[in-house]
């Protein structure tokens, strides 16, 4: 087997099977036409994103909170929330004041 180049290892090609796998992880149902279309489009985007491999980041910290807020607490007090009827007002299926969902376990 041909040895993979560094770029390939970092940015594996997006196969149709990967698209199907990712869609199932994300709970999206795709037709086979959609899978083909998204494979092409997402591959082009991933190819562009590979630009980041040029940047050396070994000694760089990541930034997740950009303004430097940390450990934000609030008092542990009960606030007024939604009442049951309000909470249920958007659902299409309810049962005895509760949300009705599809069975999770068969």
């Amino acid at each position: 087997m041909r040895k993979k180049t560094k770029t390939e290892r970092r940015n594996p090609k997006l196969t149709k099977a990967t698209v199907a796998h990712v869609a199932s992880l994300a709970n999206l149902k795709l037709t086979s036409q959609e899978k083909a279309k998204f494979q092409k489009q997402l591959s082009a985007i991933l190819e562009y994103i590979a630009l980041l491999n040029e940047v050396k980041t070994d000694k760089v910290e990541s930034t997740s909170q950009v303004t430097g807020q940390e450990n934000v607490f609030r008092k542990d007090l009960v606030e007024k929330g939604l009442i049951q009827d309000e909470a249920l007002s958007g659902t299409k299926e309810k049962h005895q004041g509760r949300f009705k969902i599809k069975a999770i376990f068969e």
Binding site: A44, I49, T57, Q65, V72, A87, S89
Partner: protein, 474 residues
């Protein structure tokens, strides 16, 4: 005579205080404009005609019985458009997606509450790229919005309806969100003042989340003063959003008019490279010259990681999108995931892929590190200059359909907008000229929490130019 619906908020407040006209007359003018032109422009998804008229009558009553009402409620009787990404209690909120086609929120966004408390009238909910995913408005599940300056062109997105509604004089200001240029791009394409505040300056609570580490809550207006006046109301700590610091909110209107003598303005060479349209470049250079004439010192600077910003953004943003959109299961409200259209699906999948086992470090973590470098570039620049002046869009507004088949091409529209989002800094877009009758904007960028300075600079530029006096002929 200028029509009431074309006034700035400042002018309207003076007119209302002096009883030159009523809020009802003004609101009726806006509604008439919506009736006349919304079919072709498609700026609003929902129009709140009945409620708006009632609120206008109530505002007039308050003003006539209490002369100080306008100083307590700075937006009393002022009709505004609200991007349909902001939850509005009892008013349908779709996020531009059929997933939320019938969603009636049980509470309002903090910003909506604050604007309403200040007396603003919500005239309607504006169209947008579904879930705020887009640069043109064409990703809306409710049809594309058109640019009032030329109906064959896009108004920019994702806050497409807000920009188009204000440009078409259907309201006096409008709210937007800017995760990767979604206020600055449409403001630029529609000849408006657009503010993207510092990350965390304005509460995100009750605004449908797109990418939580970058979402910024701002607005469109006809003048710098109006932009500052609205920020006075929306900015500040909110216990419901832990990213809002307990930092004082100054009177943002105060420094407008102070001028820019001696102020150092940085021009980042990376924003003027390959891909920048020649005519856009000319317009931005004109603005730089204007600032120099006003007494500012122009200094060349470098933001060396600019070229990596969009790539980092297209890892961070879809990753966070995939997480935020995971909650839409159609159980508690809305419709099942089958209703997601293509762009949402693309971003959910891209993000799910980037966060999946084995790829997290190569993608998300890598991008968050590049983000640090981009932020450091800005920190370094702001140690030398007060603000930065740059183009918003590399090209003039584009035609409907031009980029829809090629998502990457669409994403590149925001290549000059996203660095500010990754660094969490504020940006103010100002109208700066026209190419073939289509508006072109510039952006002033400042350090985090420097909105006051941006208004000062934008105010000086506004004083010296008259681009924003122009209105489209509909």
């Amino acid at each position: 005579m200028i029509e009431l619906n074309q006034l700035t908020i400042k002018e309207t407040r003076e007119g209302l205080a002096r009883k030159k006209f009523s809020s009802l007359e003004l609101t009726k003018d806006c509604l008439a404009q919506i009736k006349k032109h919304n079919k072709k422009i498609n700026a609003f998804i929902t129009v709140c005609e009945k409620e708006a008229l009632e609120e206008a009558k109530a505002a007039d009553k308050t003003i006539s019985s209490q002369s100080s009402a306008l100083s307590h409620q700075p937006l009393l009787g002022i009709p505004i458009g609200v991007k349909d990404l902001y939850l509005t209690k009892g008013i349908k909120t779709t996020a531009g997606s059929k997933v939320l086609d019938d969603y009636l929120p049980q509470y309002s966004a903090t910003v909506v509450e604050r604007l309403e408390r200040a007396g603003a009238i919500i005239i309607g909910k504006t169209n947008l790229d579904a879930w705020a995913h887009g640069s043109s408005g064409e990703n809306s599940d409710y049809g594309a919005t058109r640019n009032p300056w030329n109906l064959d062109y896009v108004p920019g997105g994702s806050s497409s309806g807000s920009a188009a509604a204000l440009a078409a004089s259907m309201c006096l200001a409008a709210t937007g969100t800017d995760t990767g240029g979604s206020i600055r791009l449409p403001a630029s394409f529609c000849n408006l003042v657009g503010l993207k505040p510092t990350y965390g300056r304005v509460s995100r609570y009750g605004v449908v989340a797109m990418a939580s580490s970058i979402d910024s809550i701002g607005h469109f207006s006809r003048s710098v003063f109006d932009a500052a006046l609205i920020l006075n109301l929306t900015a500040g700590y909110d216990p419901h959003d832990a990213t809002t610091p307990k930092k004082e909110v100054p009177d943002y209107t105060k420094e407008i008019g102070e001028g820019v003598k001696g102020l150092k303005i940085g021009i980042p060479s990376e924003f003027f490279g390959e891909g920048l349209d020649d005519k856009v470049k000319e317009i931005v250079e004109g603005a730089i010259k204007k600032m120099e004439e006003l007494g500012a010192r122009i200094i060349k600077i470098s933001l060396p990681h600019t070229q990596y910003a969009l790539a980092a953004y297209y890892i961070i943003q879809p990753s966070e999108v995939s997480s935020n959109l995971a909650r839409y299961d159609g159980i508690r409200y809305g419709f099942p995931r089958e209703k997601f259209a293509d762009e949402a699906k693309r971003r959910i999948m891209l993000g799910t892929f980037a966060l999946s086992t084995g790829y997290y470090e190569a993608y998300y973590l890598k991008a968050m590190k590049v983000r640090t470098l981009i932020k450091k570039d800005f920190d370094k620049a702001f140690s030398k200059v007060g603000v930065i002046l740059a183009p918003v869009s590399p090209t003039p507004p584009f035609k409907l359909g031009e980029k829809v088949e090629d998502p990457l091409k669409m994403y590149l529209s925001d290549v000059l907008a996203v660095p500010a989002n990754l660094a969490g800094i504020p940006g103010l877009t100002m109208p700066a000229g026209f190419i073939n009758g289509l508006p072109i904007g510039i952006q002033f960028l400042g350090p985090q929490f420097s909105e006051e300075l941006l208004f000062q600079v934008g105010g000086a530029y506004e004083q010296a130019t008259d681009w924003q006096q122009r209105r489209p002929k509909l």
